[in-house]
């Protein structure tokens, strides 16, 4: 679709809420102040794995200024979880990682609350600690969850322990195909745990209302799932729990997935509010956050591929060991995705991959930006270059040789609709100067591709109200954290209602008023809330036209709205102001309220019939490797993306650049480091290295067009896919520069230098 068809779609108007944020008036979760609020604090486990023998809170309770001290005994004995319902809000009987919440306090000041935590005496009986997921799977490993059975789909002859998720990919006859291959390449790749490190700490505030209702203010990505889980944990009906979303200072999936991601701070806070009958607020300290909230899991990936001499891929086999930490969290879903993606997004006629999601004594897997994808892509796309080198083929030619066509299937996707992969490769080659740019000594060029599926999930609604002055108020169930709700959604509503973007206000989520939604997760904001908002705006427009038709003596079908005026198409003199029609609505239908819904069943049927219109991407870079220190500097970085029709252009670019930066961080420096006892060695920002401006190249983003997605106007989700290629892209450039393949992240000076030394190149 050509851009010219649209008035505002694809432009970059100022973000809604931008002014509040630049003048310091954005009210984020941690900025809230409730009247007479108490301060909550959480006692975290000092052991990565231990039995809780006893907890003595008597001294803590005696401290002046302490209003409540709670442990598992004070909470209903119910558990939460996504696939495996394996976790209590406060540890009961056992702790399974350092950072597991054991008790909580509410006190007059934070200082008193922290002093009270120190007075809680917990007697532990330490148990063996499992840090490595591959060790944890062994049949003689200590069992972390006695009452959690192995997944039902695990073959009976597989003897494992501590596995909570199993995914098997099987296509064709991989053994036979492997035997027929001219070349078989086998490698092992490993990624480390990283923390999403959104800048705003997790917080929750809760207050019991006089009428027995509980109000919770959360900086969570999924207010409705939070409401559901808080209600369940506290034994309250849903209509007595209200969750209000504050402004959110970044989430990246780390604040997604209901209460799982925040290690249940909302129900803990709610429980403290119940006990004290006061308002209570909890703000996590950043170091506490790193050790207790959800993370991107580390994965170990065995990958083996058989190819013909001409570069045709015949078969892939592999195994994924996905470390979900002390509880299942989002690990079953992320591990499953990782397993499917280890099959790649190229033609793959034969494959067998087993994926295991494994419990260890570390913090828990969350749905962090592209869960499972970046890990798999590090293995898949590094491996592609290893194979190309062994074949003596150009890595881009090798990829292009195996690209699927529209209608083809790839692992995990029954049918592709359009395939922009080849075009993204070609544009990335062009933009980076593939084969043309002159590389100096120790410089290398590399490229990696990626794909992503907007995760399946329920739909969601939107309500569009046209006020009597012609301004528009929109309710959606998705929160804004620099994502579609306050970038793309106002653009969509403005497009359909013929008003300036600044006339549209999208409200924050309040579960008492907003339409239900699963949350701003899985690159679904544009798909779900965008579709729903478009339909709601069209519904509102239809109502407006019906009212205006009489006044303009025309058929509703002949009307249009331009610049806040409803007019007869082709007769610009016959017009009535939008505000007049919206006011007249008071006499007829009360108010113009458009309703729209993104129908997930419709989306699935569409995909079943026509195939998946998923996004593809290619990133390419030039690096320089210092062979004395192992330091890698990125000299140039290009990101080429197909995200369908961009709705808000700057927002799309911002998502791509931010996600790329996050994975460049994972590529070069980021990791959560543990000692053998399961203690996090780098919880604070002093030691947890993240990309800063001076280590970042300028990310040169190019969008390719002509591949419409399933979203409104042909949009595709843009929040996650750019996280997929960067690690392999950089590793491939290092390989090109030095001939050394680094198979373990991060590509830090230490790891690169070690690999160079092992290869005799340093």
């Amino acid at each position: 679709m050509a851009k010219a068809e649209y008035k505002v779609i694809g432009t970059s108007p100022a973000r809604m809420g931008g002014i509040d944020r630049v003048i310091g008036k954005g009210v984020y979760g941690i900025d809230l102040m409730l009247k007479d609020q108490l301060h909550g604090a959480i006692l975290r486990s000092q052991y990565a794995h231990a039995k809780i023998i006893s907890i003595d809170t008597s001294e803590a309770k005696k401290l002046p200024g302490v209003h409540a001290v709670i442990t598992a005994e004070d909470a209903p004995n119910v558990r939460y979880g996504r696939s495996y319902i394996d976790r209590h809000i406060l540890a009961r009987g056992k702790v399974r990682f350092m950072g597991d919440p054991v008790a909580a306090v509410a006190a007059d000041t934070l200082a008193i609350a922290k002093a009270a935590l120190k007075k809680i005496k917990v007697t532990y009986e330490p148990l063996p600690v499992l840090i490595d997921a591959e060790e944890a799977m062994k049949p003689d490993a200590v069992v972390l969850h006695d009452d959690m059975p192995l997944p039902k789909n695990i073959p009976a002859d597989v003897k494992v322990r501590n596995v909570c998720g199993f995914t098997q990919v099987h296509v064709g006859d991989p053994d036979k195909a492997m035997a027929e291959a001219d070349l078989v390449v086998e490698e092992v790749y490993e990624t480390k745990m990283i923390h999403p490190q959104y800048l705003e700490p997790r917080s929750a505030a809760a207050q019991m209302e006089p009428n027995g209702r509980l109000t919770v203010w959360a900086n969570a990505q999924a207010p409705f799932p939070v409401r559901q889980e808080v209600a369940k944990m506290l034994g309250m009906p849903l209509n007595n729990v209200r969750v209000i979303s504050a402004d959110i200072g970044g989430g990246f999936g780390g604040k997604g997935s209901g209460i799982t991601s925040g290690a249940a701070i909302e129900p803990i806070c709610g429980l403290l509010a119940q006990k004290t009958k006061r308002a209570v607020m909890i703000v996590l300290d950043k170091a506490e956050e790193t050790i207790s909230t959800t993370i991107r899991s580390g994965a170990k990936m065995y990958i083996k591929t058989g190819v013909k001499k001409d570069g045709t891929i015949l078969a892939r086999t592999g195994k994924v060991i996905y470390d979900t930490g002390g509880y299942s969290g989002f690990g079953v879903q992320a591990g499953g995705r990782c397993t499917n993606m280890l099959g790649g997004w190229y033609l793959m006629p034969n494959a067998h991959i087993d994926g295991y999601t494994v419990y260890t004594n570390k913090q828990v897997c969350g749905p962090v930006r592209g869960p499972g994808g970046p890990q798999a892509a590090f293995a898949v796309e590094s491996h592609m270059d290893t194979i190309a080198a062994k074949l003596g083929m150009d890595p881009t030619e090798f990829r292009l040789k195996n690209i699927p066509k529209p209608g083809d299937k790839i692992i995990g996707v029954h049918k592709l609709r359009d395939v922009s992969l080849g075009e993204t490769i070609k544009v990335a080659k062009e933009n980076i100067g593939w084969g043309k740019v002159k590389l100096e000594k120790n410089q290398g060029i590399g490229l990696a591709t990626g794909s992503w599926i907007e995760s399946a999930g329920p739909g969601g609604g939107a309500i569009v109200k046209v006020n009597e002055d012609g301004s528009v108020t929109v309710h959606v169930g998705k929160i804004d954290m620099g994502t579609a709700p306050r970038f793309g959604i106002p653009v969509i509503v403005a497009e359909e209602l013929g008003v300036p973007v600044e006339d549209v206000t999208v409200l924050s989520v309040d579960t008492d008023a907003s339409p239900w939604d699963a949350g701003t997760v899985g690159s679904r904001a544009i798909l779900v809330s965008g579709t729903a908002s478009q339909r709601a705006a069209i519904d509102a427009r239809t109502q407006l036209f019906k009212i205006a038709a009489g006044q303009l003596e025309a058929s509703p079908d002949d009307l249009e709205i331009v610049d806040r005026q409803i007019r007869v198409k082709g007769t610009p003199s016959k017009t009535v102001a939008l505000s007049v029609v919206a006011t007249n609505a008071h006499n007829v239908i009360g108010e113009v309220i458009g309703r729209g819904y993104c129908d997930n069943l419709e989306l699935m049927a569409e995909e079943k019939a026509h195939g998946s219109s998923q996004p593809f991407t290619t990133h390419a870079c030039i690096v320089e490797v210092d062979t004395m220190t192992g330091n890698v500097k990125i000299l140039k970085y290009v990101a080429v993306h197909d995200i369908g029709q961009p709705i808000h252009l700057a927002a799309v670019e911002g998502q791509i650049e931010g996600a790329t930066a996050m994975s460049i961080g994972q590529a070069l420096c980021e990791q959560v480091v543990f000692d053998k006892d399961g203690k996090t060695l780098n919880p604070s920002f002093v030691d947890y290295l993240m990309p800063t401006l001076n280590m970042m190249p300028r990310i040169e983003t190019t969008l390719v067009h002509g591949y419409p997605g399933a979203g409104p106007y042909g949009a595709k989700g843009a929040g996650e896919i750019a996280c997929v290629p960067p690690m392999a892209c950089i590793a491939n450039a290092i390989f090109n520069a030095t001939g050394v393949r680094v198979t373990k992240l991060p590509l830090s000076p230490e790891n690169v230098l070690r690999a160079l030394k092992e290869a005799g190149k340093a």
Partner: protein, 154 residues
């Protein structure tokens, strides 16, 4: 132990008591209830809490509130002139550099201090000026664009 702090914030004389151990950030956020300066790492590593202290950008989380005695402090709340945004604030909006916006106040203060020092900053000046600020959302492109735009407009 409580101490008395007499300081000037955004041109206004402020006098308040705080615990001796209070950081300047806590003094601003909790004592004065000025929430514009953001709390993140609390260890001086991210720049979210940046304020201008006697003309220099500092991390208020690792500065003692008592050090504010007699000082001139500018915070994000003090930049706009009524409804008119400061050019640095406007530039962050115009370039799309405000994603979640949590790092934004800190960046704006660092950049304001830079542009107070030099009207024509080089790329190196810019990198140096915001080397203590972290943004997790933008990948930095649009922040760099905002700084260049603000410099051009001033």
């Amino acid at each position: 132990m409580s101490v008395k702090i007499n300081t000037t914030i955004n041109g206004q004389a402020v006098s308040a008591s705080a615990e001796a151990s209070t950081s300047l950030l806590e003094f601003l956020r909790d004592t004065l209830e000025m929430k514009g300066s953001k709390l993140c790492c609390n260890t001086g590593e991210c720049g979210a809490c940046t304020v201008i202290y006697n003309g220099k950008p500092i991390n208020s989380c690792v500065t003692m509130a008592a050090d504010a005695n007699g000082a001139q402090i500018t915070t994000i709340e003090g930049l706009a002139d009524g409804d008119k945004l400061h050019p640095v604030q406007q530039a962050f909006i115009d370039t799309g550099a405000v994603q979640c916006g949590y790092c934004t106040p800190g960046y704006i203060m660092s950049v304001k201090a830079l542009l107070d020092r030099t009207k024509k900053p080089t790329q190196a000046d810019i990198e140096e000026a915001v080397s203590g600020n972290i943004c997790r959302c933008t990948g930095y492109n649009k922040i760099v664009d905002a700084i260049h735009l603000a410099a051009a407009k001033l």
